[in-house]
Amino acid sequence: MGLDKNQIAKRIAQELKDGYYVNLGIGIPTLVANYVPENIEVTLQSENGLLGIGPFPTPNKVEADLINAGKQTVTYVDGASFFDSATSFAMIRGGHVDLTILGAFEVSEEGDIASWKVPGKLVKGMGGAMDLVASAKNIIVAMQHSNKGQSKILKKCTLPLTGVKCVKRIVTDLAVMDVTPNGFKLLERAPGVTVEEIIAATEGKLIIEGEIPEMKL
């Protein structure tokens, strides 16, 4: 029941538009690159200083000086550019990146996001996530709807925040939802998932208007 990681990525890829500059976070978001529709062109930004990420290199083309923000070896596409971290975050903070896709531990009905710190566990740091959620024109969160029966789609986040009132859309294994002034607006169900199941898995206020269609994957 519900989408696997690749299906979540595939659904999110439908949000891409021709000409978009997109920053993909680590985890599910990275997989989105595999599902970019063929008829559009998007440019992937890596906050460590690359605009125009290409596929992973073939073994003979691995280059230590060419990595993505997840520290994986990558390549670059035609028309790419390299730059320093200050310029990279000028792009992000200045709102030049059209879309940020990232993971989260929790999202609140006001659009707050918690994604970087679990008290009591090791803190690795926020990296670029706080900059991204504070400034991207559009933010989509890719996440699991709940964890061991505990909803992660909440009235209020319980974990330390990454950013406030910033998330626009959430794609989970169960549903697509928008954050609206009145709560989470349910847009689509995962194939085979019922509205009742989504209601049961959602702690935050869920707005259900009319028939909720199934996602098309």
């Binding site: 890596s46 906050e47 460590n48 200083g49 690359l50 596929p55 992973f56 290199p57 073939t58 073994p59 003979n60 691995v62 280059e63 230590a64 000086d65 060419l66 990595i67 993505n68 997840g70 520290k71 994986q72 070896t73 990558v74 670059y76 390299f82 730059f83 320093d84 971290s85 200050a86 990279s88 975050f89 992000i92 903070r93 707050d112 090791l122 803190v123 690795k124 740091g125 926020m126 990296g127 670029g128 996530a129 706080m130 900059d131 504070a134 400034s135 330390p160 925040l161 990454t162 950013g163 406030v164 009132k165």
Partner: protein, 232 residues
């Protein structure tokens, strides 16, 4: 004017206990391997290190960590590193975490004579605690302060005897701004050429920011995650 020094030993002359030192690099990409290696052989301790990351257990700034030469770490993403975790949890190591873009901009500001500036990143989070908040254009921002250092240590691909630097691909990262923000900036380069051999139109770091430069040796350039695709 002579900025060229023989090696890392000569480059770190004057570096001493409790100084603030910036190290370029993102993960293990573009880190100044030579200076770190030599610094780990000194008795210098109590350092405040500013670097996006803190190396791994057996490479990069991990060397200095293992020797307990670092008192405080100012970074954005750390802990690919068991010793780091141990020292942080035991209270031996002080850690200040910054949003990555804020860290980058604080360093640039330090080099550019801008003591403080407003950013939206971190507003409403624990990063904002104790910081001035202000609304601009309907959006809340927090005031962040510049970072400078007694020494900045950067790594470039090519450099010339005037201190001009060129980075390769994503190895520019924090190096370019850190070069601006050191009272003394040390650049180690893979290839050092006479002034006049680099195209002046394509210099990433103008020489004015660099006080000492040398050609490094034995670059390992370790990769954290080799990810490949199949040849078609």
């Amino acid at each position: 004017m002579n900025k060229v020094v023989k090696n890392a030993e000569e480059a770190i002359k004057g570096m001493s206990d409790n100084m603030t030192v910036m190290f370029g690099g993102f993960g293990l990409c573009g880190i100044p391997e030579n200076v770190i290696r030599v610094l780990a052989q000194t008795q210098i301790k109590g350092l405040v290190c500013i670097s996006n990351n803190c190396g791994v257990d057996d490479f990069g700034l991990g060397f200095l960590l293992k020797n307990k030469q670092i008192r405080k770490m100012v970074a954005s993403y750390v802990g690919e590193n068991a010793e780091f975790e141990r020292q942080m949890l035991s209270g031996e190591l002080e850690v200040e975490l910054n949003p990555q873009g804020t860290l980058a901009e604080r360093i640039r500001a330090g080099g550019a004579g801008i003591p403080a500036f407003f950013v939206p990143a971190g507003y409403g989070t624990e990063v904002a605690i104790g910081k001035e908040e202000r609304e601009f254009n309907g959006k809340m921002h927090i005031l962040e302060h510049a970072l400078t250092a007694d020494f900045a240590v950067v790594k470039a691909w090519k450099g010339d005897t005037n201190g001009n630097l060129i980075y390769k691909y994503t190895a520019s990262n924090f190096n370019n701004m850190m070069a601006m923000a050191g009272k003394i900036t040390i650049a180690e380069v893979e290839e050092l050429v006479p002034a006049g051999q680099l195209d002046p139109n394509f210099i990433h770091t103008p020489g004015i920011f660099v006080q000492r430069i040398f050609q490094g040796v034995n670059y390992e350039k370790r990769i954290e995650q080799v990810t490949t695709s199949n040849p078609k």
